[in-house]
Symmetry: C2
């Protein structure tokens, strides 16, 4: 199968690696408006050739957009305009509502699958691409009833090949959940990095930075080019999640100041996250109505 | 040398492992009021014997308190009352001002070194003990001019053996810096875990939890028994750090809502943390007046 990957960064490059290795793809065409990224992707053999957007899209059985969400919204109509009748199109953006809304009346709407694989690192560019980045992670497919069944089947198969479980939900539901689980932690890390840089005696602070601090602000290293458009497209839900978070921070702060018993109650409630995330209580298994386990390595 | 470790959890157990392996200790006496922890520590040979507090303290050349900071404050006067003339005492608590204040007029004040090794994990108990937990991390020694030079030299040597660099500062300065670099990230993680648990449709959210979320809330798994007393003892500086953080969160939230340009400026400023923490700009080297590098592996 001939696959065109638009955007040769961490996500696009990692997908290309795994789809080639598994022989899901036998020819990969790359598109990138950053000429250095394009050349580098060719050099390290992420892709077989570099093409212009229009030519690349015409040659492909499957087109995958792995660019910032504002660029996805901008390019997706053009991509759909230019594909052949039977070509499948998907994108890997972290927001979905704004994107599906923008093409809801497109004549090739059913060729498109709105998807979001929940994986990544704080690094970017083709050299950041990793084999196995998606393995044992979850891919969200949104509004699948608006896509043709063959196109849906191909994207499900692609996620299986990447080693992912698949969750189905509406674009609105995905944006709401992802705001809390992914966008909020990123916003929190950006604010924490700024808060710590605010303290006067900064040099000593960074010398002292221990593991806990490093893992918490790791996400603040993520590129604003990717995350700025996400914050803008999912503005309402991210603002909601930030308000909930600030409410909880104020509650904890006030309990530390004035109500030790409440402070312990809040901390105990928070540390329940250990069993929730620790695998002792794998809710994945309990949610068979929502989550279909297609593939487990 | 005979060492008594009071508190056989993650920190105490990890220190015991390394000090035994390096032959800095040839006999380790354990004290723990949790009988299961005491038995387990004996079983896995973290310690050679278990003793009552008074007897253990009398037999030791060096006493290390590795218990929650409220317990350190409670026990330290008794420990100093019971040691022999030449015995050195230190503690590994994350707060220092309240503890040093509590024994400032003790006749054996100069036997005591106030210390804080900046390392840990979110796990607890003797089975969580890890070899090399402190290697290449920083140990803070506070108010060293209030300690006798022989006692200071012994603790400096101990941190060298653990593979640590040493930073010297006042107890007040350590509490202020540690509030931002360690206590604030923990408070932020507790609040984030609570915020996410607030969202109605929780089951799906935890299924989706990806790497970014897991690394951010990892610290919320830390035990409230250890962290509650830290928040209480360092209340003023933690409240200050939370206020600075909440201010930055509100600023980011408002910029997402109303001022895209400012949002990008805030995100770009935050992502400078990449170079600060990334080792490209190792301020450790620039702070030779503050940090003395005793030991590098």
């Amino acid at each position: 199968m001939r696959i065109t990957v638009i955007g040769l960064g961490l996500i696009g490059g990692s997908i290309a690696k795994d789809l080639r290795k598994s022989k899901f793809a036998n020819h990969i065409i790359g598109v990138d408006n950053n000429i250095e990224h394009a050349n580098q992707a060719l050099k390290i053999k992420l892709v077989d050739e570099i093409e212009s957007l229009e030519a690349a899209v015409k040659k492909a059985d499957l087109v995958i957009l792995t660019i910032p969400v504002n660029k996805i919204k901008e390019l997706l109509p053009t991509v759909l305009d230019n594909i052949n009748e039977g070509t499948t199109v998907t994108d890997m953006g972290s927001t979905k509502k704004d994107i599906v809304d923008s093409i809801k009346d497109h004549p090739k709407r059913r060729n498109y699958i709105a998807a979001h694989p929940m994986s990544g690192t704080e690094n970017s560019g083709p050299d950041a691409a990793l084999e196995g980045l998606f393995r044992e992670k979850i891919a969200i497919i949104c509004d699948h009833e608006d896509s043709g069944p063959q196109h849906l089947a191909l994207i499900e198969k692609m996620f299986q090949v990447l080693g992912m479980d698949i969750a189905y939900m509406s674009a609105d539901e995905q944006d709401h959940s992802t705001a809390f689980i992914s966008h909020l932690p990123h916003a929190a890390a950006y604010a924490l990095a700024n808060a710590v840089q605010d303290k006067e005696d900064r040099s000593i602070i960074f010398d002292l930075a221990s593991g806990g601090f490093r893992s918490t602000v790791r996400l603040a290293k993520s590129t604003p080019t990717m995350w700025g458009p996400i914050f803008q497209q999912n503005k309402d839900y991210i603002v909601e999640s930030l308000e909930v978070y600030i409410k909880h921070l104020n509650e904890l702060k006030e309990s530390i100041e004035h109500d030790e018993e409440k402070m312990y109650a809040l901390m105990n409630n928070a540390s329940k996250i250990r069993s929730i995330l620790g695998g002792e209580n794998p809710s994945l298994i309990k949610n068979e109505e929502k989550i279909v386990k297609f593939y487990t390595k």
